[in-house]
Symmetry: D2
Subunit: 356 residues, 4 copies
């Protein structure tokens, strides 16, 4: 297998750095170019002393722009850019004759409908014609399309934690319910390295609170993908919260007003559905004897899910845990890359958990 | 005003110690006896070096049993005991001629119905005849009864964070909704000083997870009190989670399937109701420009509440934050004591927040 | 006792806010003016929701400048300002006829010698003539001078944790040693609310490191005060470190090359000296059966100290713990205020520890 | 290269589990047996949900004793056992004809002199005759001996953080100094999974303190190895402290009373010495523009070191950071295994840091 030649835009953000860490251990990849305006000219292990500490690694120097040869030689470009910037960059690459693949870890190509983008992100979409070419990259739900994709929209962290947990359940057409309430809790790395008062240690440690309680930008993405699975429109009440930890998302999903019927039967039905969806998936684990914990997935590309049926209140409770930087961003991006290039889906992703 | 002579059973647990800290600053109280089997014979500031550090304070030595004179002289006994032990202790006090007041910070006298106790706590109630004499101690909802109470059941920490936040809303008889979903997050001090693997630093730091997702013992207490306010039966779907911090509870409450109607009108109606309920309450603050944060209440007896109407999903979201050890336990107990003895309700409770 | 009328410059920093919290509970003080450019016009409990949550408190609105009447009416002005700003402000107050007292919680008047200031702070001292009028405010060492002071330089947080721990030992003229090595560890609140990358949660949590290892500005202050006690010049090797917590300083002091002699005798001598120094001090506690812990002092104005004699290496080890914001800043400032105004030294400072 | 067949005693402690995680990614190793009384019969990824989450991994079931074939077939046995247990186990293995290699991650074979063991560990050494056969496993100082070793004593975590940082400096025979003061700070994982009050989240979070300030068991090990390098006896004043984080050791070393001479010259000399010692070492990094941080090494087998010369106080300050579970335990053990079996020293140890 030849090496995949890779360039990265937005390489010094949290996702970009995590991506570089993974690719450093990936057998079939080679980073040829990494962009960062902040660290232009700096060697990566000088700027980020926690990575590439093995002396025999090749050196990467950040630069500000891709050279012509970067664009010509790259088999794959990762975009780790804020809203609005991915489409600008994609436009630029198209105009400069780039003909490799793109994985956008940003949010510009996740919504199929440009109007939704404009409503939720508050700005014009400047590359609507490319939207249909971007495949939504949840490998466990969309594997064949991903294998054939040239352009891939890597899912948001919250949507990953939600859609994969709900898919096997809302796929059950016989299951009826009144509403979906989702309460997610994320570590602060989800906000990247933003230098804002609210992300100071002083304001996060020993603290907890909800944020963006009405209009979080991940909502239309979640509803779009859920509706594809259920075949009808799904509205979700979604509330994110900030945890005083660095990594991890724990999501609690509540299906309310469920026609539970015979509990044993429903339980079997849901278990079967999970089996059908994820039996052969390396990164999804249905926890049947416990509840997922962030510590059990942090540092890995795994997702843990469990569900419970609450007869007393006619509700189903579903819990999921992921590492927001890995399965929720850079890890899933490499998983998608592996599929797009015909590699083993788990290549480079055999990290063990970091907790003790 | 004369001094209230106070004895405490279970004085070395987290709640007991916090109670002692508050009473140390209370103008009209005097601790005459404090029980702790673990620390029997030890002077309190030797056993707990973080308290009573001012040298001019009187010394308290823990003992294992109340003496006859303790029982005879006490105007008030606080019980800070695990489930099943408060009723045993109350029985013992009654049989030994105690005729002062009791505040039970434990859970044995919160449920009006002994059958509920037996169902949720899994053991016989041995003092059913006393249940009607215990007043449920949420001062903001139940002030007159508390003023006249001899026996008081201090509410649980989760129930406090939920009932006070919901009361002004479910009191609106015109408001209809399908279900109530409650997602609470508590600091580890809620579990007391239990020496269990799950409470080791290793297993809590950098971690987050749900627990007791189906049958938490605070559920019947919450439903009982909510139903009294709404006048009809309220079932709640309740899920507690453990935060990697010491103090504080943040609760997210979701009313689903609400007949919202004209949003401005509903908002005014709810605001008015909060005003009616809490206008004169020193410890309740409706936050109208933000969302409550644990850091804004930890170390205080205050509760912060906010609400939002989500038209898109026909939901109302209510957020509350309290310090679980203060407003959720020892602070509220002293607030109740003040009312029961005709004192200023805020006496001893003017602590400022501990965050920076 | 009449009320002390107080104005505060730099009122919205961490020290300023903590000062306001303490004064709110102080029986004989009244804040008449509080300056903050950042929060100009804002009511304090709106800007800082964790304080003054009791509704019956008077309201304070931040302003940008003292009015003429503020300057005329104040009995005491606290300066909570960064290096270089306290002297500017003091100059301004003098020029505008202020004739009350000043407590500078900043660093401009701690060094007796303007040359030292210029060497360590890197700027000219513009008010050298006032230096002799400022009394160094360590109440346990300097009480009589403080009682008579009009101008007071409140000590730095590290110096407080070091000087008080060393004083009774270096006061022993018979004790000889080769060197003093000091390793201090501080919570991040020591850096105030500075918005810098290094104080983001991401960069502090799960982390630890030394900083300013050669030239920390507290060094000359420590050496100046130690030399006054020992009567000869004391040089210290001092290294501060940053802890992933909000509050507290733990200092480890090592006297190397000590002429220990008979260990029992030396131990008694040091114990006696501690007794002589601090027997009647409300805020100093010599821990004889354990080692101080930050959790035992955080939230209080107390300082815990212990010492050990290591015969094997001819060293004495001294450990101290304080709350850097209280005994290390705002608490000590109020302690000094109490002395300067003839009040009980502990007034307003009876806070209990915040740990469980 | 054939597979190394490995058995592990004490496999479910923190070090044992970390070892299993590393070996899972090691190309030339196969775990044939893992002992844990606590988890006997349990499949490892059920007992520790954070590991081996990739479904295609082989399953390991914990057992209580090695079978005959385990002992016969193992090429290498790792001992992750508490003091006193490694020698018992080694004795047992010898008596049962084991003729493979042993790496003891415990402390029983680190001290060359059985008397030292008995003095510092307080019990008889039952296998003195084996002491000379155990090679002390600091690969960067002792590589050739390790390559030829059958029995290896893996260094303690504190000694690793200290000896490697000091070796190039005390090796300079022209350097004179009066004393060595060492102040180490460790994450709580250093204490393993011990269920003790002092390791509860309540007692560690927001806290910091020193422990074992006079007689920590790592002292004789450090002095023994330093003396081998310097060629004369080195006594150290060592004080460990507990950090409120899970992983990492930061050590501050102070050489006091140094004959500094011309600073530039001394600096070059030390730099040269570091170069001579570690030029070709993959895991040691001399940080020349900054100070090491725990976040830069946690999750890796790397050690970061920096040094500073303080002319003002005639001291040299040396700082080091390691991950106590990796370079301080399981990672270094695998590094030693690689050397003992003629493999690439970094095999299985290419983990990237876990911080963001």
């Amino acid at each position: 297998m030849k090496e995949i030649k890779i360039s990265i835009a937005g390489a010094s953000g949290i996702t970009g750095i995590e991506l570089i860490k993974i690719l450093d251990r990936h057998k079939h990849s080679k980073i040829i170019s990494a962009l960062s305006r902040t660290y232009e000219g700096k060697e990566i292990s000088k700027a980020f002393k926690n990575i590439l500490s093995l002396k025999n690694n090749k050196k990467i120097y950040f630069k500000s722009f891709f050279s012509k040869s970067d664009i010509q030689d790259s088999d794959l470009i990762f975009l780790c850019l804020p809203p609005g910037k991915s489409m600008e960059y994609t436009k630029y690459l198209m105009e400069n004759g780039y003909n490799g693949k793109i994985i956008d870890i940003g949010s510009d190509f996740r919504l199929n409908n440009a109007d939704d983008y404009e409503e939720w992100y508050g700005e014009k979409h400047i590359l609507k014609e490319m939207l249909p070419k971007f495949v939504y990259g949840l490998p466990e739900l969309n594997k064949e399309a991903i294998k054939n994709a040239d352009y891939l929209a890597n899912p948001g962290c919250y949507p990953t934690s939600i859609i994969l947990a709900l898919a096997p359940i809302i796929d059950l057409k016989s299951l009826k319910f009144n509403s979906i309430t989702i309460d997610s809790k994320s570590g602060v790395s989800g906000a990247g390295r933003k230098l804002k008062d609210e992300y100071l240690f002083l304001n996060i440690a020993d603290n907890f609170f909800a944020y963006s309680p009405l209009k979080h930008r991940h909502i239309p993405e979640i509803e779009q993908e859920l509706s594809k699975i259920s075949g009808s429109e799904n509205k979700i009440s979604f509330t994110p919260h900030l945890l005083p930890i660095n990594r991890g998302i724990f999501t609690s999903i509540y299906l309310n007003g469920v026609n539970i019927g015979e509990i044993k039967e429903l339980k079997d039905k849901i278990n079967d559905s999970f089996n059908n969806f994820y039996r052969n998936e390396a990164f999804i684990k249905l926890i049947d004897d416990d509840i997922p914990k962030i510590s059990n997935v942090s540092g890995t590309n795994s997702m843990h899910i469990s569900f419970l049926i609450d007869c007393r209140t006619s509700a189903i409770k579903i819990f999921s845990a992921i590492d927001n930087i890995l399965k929720g961003a850079a890890g899933q991006a490499v998983q998608n890359m592996n599929l797009m290039f015909g590699l083993n889906e788990t290549e480079g992703l055999d990290m063990q958990g970091i907790s003790n």
